[in-house]
């Protein structure tokens, strides 16, 4: 290894985050859907596009579904691109929900893409992507 290569290797090591992110976003979604195709639409992921504090960011997922026995959402999963882990949460629901809407508060380590995926009882998967800008990240203490 010449000097230039050694320096390049060093630089790469230095910019590595303390925790290497686990896997890629598309891969995490594929694992959850079991490789089934996903389509954009029917799902709405509501979150502020500019987040001034990543420690507790309100988020709401709504799926356009009549929530009847014949036609309903069975699960919703939330994924992120750049936190240490790709998973955020998974929710199981059914016709007894009456309305396919779930809210929670999440942590965001940095500016990144979020994806909500809904699974319908007919086996189809629907997604919505949102890009958010985070000005103050989660997980830093005073």
């Amino acid at each position: 290894m010449n000097r230039r290569q050694a320096l390049a290797t060093l630089a790469v090591v230095m910019v590595r985050p303390a925790f290497a992110a686990e896997g890629d976003l598309a891969g995490a979604i594929r694992t959850w859907t079991g490789g089934a195709a996903t389509k954009e639409g029917r799902v709405k992921l509501d979150i502020a596009e500019l987040v001034d504090n990543g420690n507790a960011v309100p988020i709401t997922v709504t799926v356009d579904s009549p929530m009847t026995a014949a036609n309903h959402v069975t699960a919703i999963a939330l994924f992120n691109e750049k936190n240490p882990q790709r998973d955020i949460a998974r929710f199981q629901l059914g016709p007894r929900a009456g309305k396919a809407q779930v809210s929670t508060r999440i942590r965001l380590a940095t500016t990144q893409r979020l994806v909500a995926v809904a699974k319908m009882n007919d086996g189809s998967f629907w997604t919505h992507n949102v890009d958010v800008i985070v000005t103050l990240a989660a997980c830093i203490e005073d």
Binding site: A48, D52, P58, D142
Partner: protein
């Protein structure tokens, strides 16, 4: 504050500080070893504690200086309940304080116009304007000269402590005004005032006066 943070504070079913309030409510009537609870003397907090938090820091005749609400709670523990005082930022102390502070929600901040307080107020104002730390900054340089601007993405407020104790998103929990002030002081690389020190009481007395007339919004949520 972002609309999301404001919404979190406005709705009690979403405000995480209400978890501490609920704890405080339970502690209010929980008897100490000597059988006495807060309720033994003060009965119903919604009546007896209405407006009380809005008057703090208040002059304490024993120590002859202004004391913070949490210090008053600890004095009650010591003198009436024969219990040991709780350390600063203890969860039970924050819970009690949140519960008492809630009883002043919406009321005007009304510090006692006590003559004995004036020297503490004057020294508090001096602390506020004193440049400190390696960054050589005073409270006033941020909070009087640059409010509304941003510091590392976060808006600089005008230093009106209307909502303490607060649920601070950055802390992911509750904390007192003293903790917040100490954060600021270490932020400018200065030695923070000790918890419950006279200097802290002086600065808090000055800050309360600045906020006089503003509505209490405790327990507040802040970024």
């Amino acid at each position: 504050m972002s609309p999301a943070t404001q919404a979190m504070q406005k709705d009690d079913t979403q405000n995480p500080a209400m978890l501490w309030v609920k704890d405080g409510e339970a502690l209010w009537s929980k008897p100490a070893a000597n059988g006495k609870s807060c309720a033994s003397c003060h009965n119903d907090a919604p009546k007896s504690m209405k407006g009380i938090a809005a008057t703090y820091p208040a002059f304490d005749t024993q120590s002859r200086r202004p004391i913070h609400l949490s210090e008053r709670i600890n004095l009650c523990r010591k003198n009436k309940q024969d219990a040991s005082p709780l350390p600063p930022e203890h969860q039970d102390l924050l819970s009690m304080e949140s519960y008492v502070a809630l009883q002043s929600r919406g009321m005007s901040i009304a510090p006692h116009r006590d003559k004995r307080m004036s020297e503490f107020f004057t020294r508090g104002e001096k602390h506020y304007k004193q440049r400190i730390g390696q960054l050589d900054l005073s409270c006033a340089q941020c909070h009087d000269d640059n409010p509304g601007k941003r510091l590392a993405g976060t808006p600089i407020p005008q230093a009106h402590p209307t909502g303490y104790p607060i649920y601070r998103l950055e802390w992911q929990g509750m904390g007192s005004l003293q903790r917040r002030i100490r954060n600021c002081m270490s932020g400018v690389r200065a030695e923070p005032f000790a918890f419950n020190s006279t200097e802290m009481a002086e600065l808090e007395t000055y800050l309360a006066s600045r906020a006089a007339g503003m509505a209490m919004d405790a327990p507040a949520v802040r970024p």
